[in-house]
Symmetry: C2
Subunit: 386 residues, 2 copies
Amino acid sequence: MRGRPRGGDAIDAAVDERDTVGFVAVCRAPDPTSRYLTGRAFDCDLVFVRVDGETHLRVPSTVEPPSLPVASVRVDDRLPGRAAAAVLAEHAASEGTVLAPRTIPHDAALHLEAAGYDLASTAAVEDARAVKDDAERDAIEAAQRAATRGVGRAAAILSAATVEAADDRDGGSVGNDRGDDGEAVLSWDDAPLSSERLRRQVNATLAAEGVDYTGATTVRAGTRGGGNEPVELRPGEPIVVSVGPRGPTGYRGALARTFVVDPDGGWERRAHVACDAARKVSLVEADPGDDAGFLGSELRAETAAFGFSMADEVTRDVGGGIGLAAREDPPLDGDRELVAGNVLRVRSAVTHPDHGRVELTDVLVVGEDGPRLLGDAPTGLDPSRW
Amino acid sequence: MRGRPRGGDAIDAAVDERDTVGFVAVCRAPDPTSRYLTGRAFDCDLVFVRVDGETHLRVPSTVEPPSLPVASVRVDDRLPGRAAAAVLAEHAASEGTVLAPRTIPHDAALHLEAAGYDLASTAAVEDARAVKDDAERDAIEAAQRAATRGVGRAAAILSAATVEAADDRDGGSVGNDRGDDGEAVLSWDDAPLSSERLRRQVNATLAAEGVDYTGATTVRAGTRGGGNEPVELRPGEPIVVSVGPRGPTGYRGALARTFVVDPDGGWERRAHVACDAARKVSLVEADPGDDAGFLGSELRAETAAFGFSMADEVTRDVGGGIGLAAREDPPLDGDRELVAGNVLRVRSAVTHPDHGRVELTDVLVVGEDGPRLLGDAPTGLDPSRW
């Protein structure tokens, strides 16, 4: 699944040729702001200008301007900052202070300044996005239902899988014939069950549920690979199935469960108890007025309390807001107060170099009356109990 | 498929409260630069710094730092510009000129300048991305194979569909019983065939081919809807099936075909002849050294030559580079020279308010010896001839 790095040589050549110190790119994650602000996905640059309570959109001539209920949608092939300045000059004033996200492209900021405007940054859109309305919660809940079906498909396959000795694979399924550690593998539907094969089955289920992005699906097995390299699945090792489907209106779900086929050890059971206990903390701590960072600390502390190292074993990625992006406000590591309408991805996970990983990820809504889990996926290690 | 606009009120309030002229957001399309530069997809902000031919990456503490073969990957929770400045100070000089894309976030640019660096913009990465290497071409070709299977699935379904009078739907399929204009509908597998049902079938096929993003798939029918609202499909109207799948390494395909079940008119046949003729132009004009904008103009002119209005009927979106993004360099409307290694989405399309739309979209590679189409999808209107 991993490509290879590209562009290094081209950058080096440009750095040399222009006698500069180095090159910096600050890469943005895919930006769903345009979808949030317009209700429509754009695969091109979009200039969004809000003046006097009205919205004006500008797009390049290489796309057909969409029909949207806003004050104006026009083609403008000038650079975005110049197109924006033209809208301001036509519909507002020829100078003054203009708000923009702090991450507005630098060239656009410079063009606006050159046109006579001062820029001031605002977090208005991020703050608004952090508080979901009913339709947004419904969209996330629908994505979460699809997520539950997807992970359930993995549980069904693992439940039906058989254990096969690695040196007897030509003979097909041989029941519970288990070889030495690291030699037995899982088989399903008369063929070896690799992490990639399981991932594709999960994704086919997600797609049938109307999901349009399945690229966040990972299947991690034991200690091998980071979830990107296909490996054969084995009995006795924890298998983490994690999905982050995006539904047709752009909203994301998040669900991870850990399964073990034919368990033989105690580590994953202890890790699972810790993760499940931490997961339950989130259902107590996530009230309006609670501190988001405190919730994150509690999740980690509760996991560590079962004898896992905070520094090396307990995940730092305990979650945060989810919506049009997989990661949005509020993060669970700052000093923000939770408010009703926040929708949070909540993760507890433990990783060990010899045993692998155990993880539970869910999505919950912070309501006026307290937190509510979206979805009803079972949490156990045994796939046959799904 | 369309959500509703959000954030307008929050923006208006912020504009009022801070006594400013207005608000500007320049929304970036999902940015695959991080994947290009690192070979790995990131769903968080990524600071990429290249110094002395070595790459340094910085990520926020809310993600687990990936293991990548670069000089350093570290957690840094400072704002990206400050994190980048710290890397430069440690590994390069404490002042000097630094290259960056012109669209680097404005706050990052200001933080770099405050730290003592001058910024100069570079298109080195975009330019490098416009010329694909063999592995990139293979990845696009694989996405195009999946695209062909997906559109082929639509052809198979349309080929098997029956025509049913709208007022006789309870009776199930009734063969070629066609009512008045606008009353007959298509039926498949004993149920009405809507654009959404067809779209999901196409997407399930794409998912089974290993595609991880199917959200670009649209089914447009006749004159109704812009491809976003589900409608029942009808005989006699052109049905445009367009896909833009992204494969597991992030590279996109693009394919659109137009089908008519039970044709009764001449418009779509004439439009199809025009689009097919224009499509063939791209196979002649796309040589290294040719002008990309001229190719675009020729595509439009060739379509118009069959009696269609350049202003109103012939699409302006004739395509451009495709790769990790659906739209990248070179565009087919500038003065750039084509070079070997460019991979181009090439589209010919005609739209009419009474008849609907006819479109053909393909992907071709500009090779040393001339252009080569990726994929072998048939182009005809008759789905049974796929």
